[in-house]
Symmetry: C2
Subunit: 335 residues, 2 copies
């Protein structure tokens, strides 16, 4: 039924070693016999079995990627960066959604390892001791992608979330705002949650603005939660003149809540966030936001992983990509 390397060898009148060589582009084959082999392959419709090859060579040319949620535009963008580079280096990716849930993450890491991936790209929530444990038992390189980790002995690529948030809030402060609310993610989330919240507090502190707990709401990153949070702020007797949202999507929800009250953005209230997802320029007013290079984060992590898999030495295994304030239309001066 299935045609193997052995069949090709017989058909071409050579040994299987020779067939293996031509299939693997080994230069040590006379052009004439190479041709013979190719013809036999063609004639028989031979297709190399990558599983057998993987068992024999101990390399699968596939990498595992655990991602929170592929249907989230931000992560999907990262994934595309990963896949493009993987493809360039002839790797395939096994994609697993884990929703930043620890149990799920550990589970998929293990099945990925069972499948003998040559490397692992981990995009998740907090990196716990259990994660470290699982990583240690892996005999393949791992790089954290868009996920924070303290210890610094794991390879990683991300932006500096705290600094990004800091820059966003400072942009507001520079416009004269002093009453600045924040729509945060859960503080359990190290990067999009805690770090961005820290950046907010830091910018406030540095500007001598006292932190006001009632000006912070925790959202779940979705549009509706941003809209809800904003409604809450609008109902305050002393409503803020500006709001910093941890993500674009919540910011857009906030903008619409403001507009639905008959108020203007940025005329009455300014809105800024972090992400620069494609949606940021697809709303009116267009969103001023701190850009985080999602595609590049994916691409760079994958590139780093290929180096690690080839045992090339890398000088810097913790890379922090730059972020950048993108000024559009949602921020104005304080009145």
């Amino acid at each position: 039924m299935t045609v193997t390397i052995y069949d090709v060898a017989r058909e071409a009148g050579v040994s299987m070693a020779t067939v293996s060589r031509v299939v693997n582009n080994n230069p040590n084959v006379k052009p004439a016999t190479r041709k013979k082999v190719f013809e036999a392959i063609e004639r028989l419709g031979y297709r190399p079995n990558a599983v057998a090859r993987g068992l024999a060579s101990k390399k699968t040319t596939t990498v595992g990627v655990v991602i929170p949620d592929i249907s989230n535009a931000i992560f999907a963008e990262v994934a595309r960066g990963i896949e493009d580079i993987a493809n360039m280096y002839h790797y395939n990716i096994i994609l697993c959604n884990a929703d930043k849930k620890k149990e799920k993450e550990i589970r998929v890491i293990n099945t990925l390892l069972e499948k003998q991936v040559d490397g692992l790209l981990f995009m998740g929530g907090a990196v716990t001791e259990e994660h470290q444990q699982a990583f240690r038992t892996a005999n393949v390189p791992i790089v954290l992608c868009a996920t924070s980790e303290e210890s610094g002995n794991l390879a990683s690529v991300d932006i500096d979330h705290e600094a990004a948030a800091y820059d966003a809030v400072q942009a507001l402060i520079k416009q004269g705002h002093t009453s600045i609310a924040m729509i945060s993610g859960t503080l359990e989330d190290p990067s999009n949650g805690y770090a961005r919240f820290s950046g907010y507090k830091k910018a406030l502190a540095e500007a001598g603005i006292t932190y006001d707990e009632s000006l912070v709401r925790i959202g779940n990153y979705r549009y509706e939660s941003g809209a809800d949070a904003m409604r809450y702020f609008l109902d305050l007797e002393q409503r803020p003149t500006a709001v910093f949202s941890a993500t674009d999507e919540m910011a857009i929800g906030a903008i619409h809540s403001i507009q639905d009250r008959g108020l203007q953005v940025p005329g009455d209230i300014s809105v800024i966030s972090v992400d620069n997802s494609r949606m940021a320029s697809m709303v009116r007013p267009q969103l001023t936001t701190v850009a985080q290079p999602m595609y590049d984060i994916g691409a760079v992590s994958m590139r780093l992983l290929t180096k690690l898999m080839k045992k090339e030495n890398v000088d810097q295994a913790q890379v922090v990509l730059p972020h950048e304030l993108v000024v559009r239309q949602s921020v104005g001066g304080s009145k």
Copy 2:
């Protein structure tokens, strides 16, 4: 270095066959020896090698999915549906972007087949003779996911794009519109392009409205192209009172072009589209659109694929999922 089934066998004082049995949950093992084996596994930190298993059993419990572009929200949603169901049935997915490019599609299909996937989910552009050819050489089931194919001898799941478009345009007609423009995708794209365009023409014809070529522009599905197309329509001496966009994203671009001219949606011009991506309710006015159940398309295709892989018999291998008009705020009556 790596601990194998053989090591476990020795450690537990049984044969490798027995270890294999307990690892695979074969009931024919005495509880006592099962326990011994589990302890040995624990002690040694044994992790089954799925590649070896795959070679021996000829099953990899992984399916290939070729997708146009994972960073496109629509496809990302499908992908999530696929992965959720795959996960439920203990399959993993190898994800390949192919951008609806024939060459790329054929290439990844072949590498996926080399990797011995147990099944293939194909989401692409046109299904050419070459595709059929590649599919024929596969010894595993294949299901087309959100991609049209005439012959009807391939398993598939999708919506009826022509009918969806027809319904959208008819919704406009019911509001009294007779001058209806269309922002189409490329006609080379069978589903999102050609079929939706056909639905548009059909609805027009049925309502006795003569088709006007100058009222159709081809976009590339992106926001900007929708905005461009709309600007073109706005410059017409006889500008349309309504526009049907093949996708949400282009519709949003169109809305903004209208608003940027100081015109109102739907007051001056109505806009409708097909997709119902999450963005549809994240713009103002919220978009009236024909919903296409992306997640379900993914989930149902994967479910169908599992059945095919298990050789269960399926009564209907061509499934057409229902679409539905979602009325929001972007359509109004003709003046």
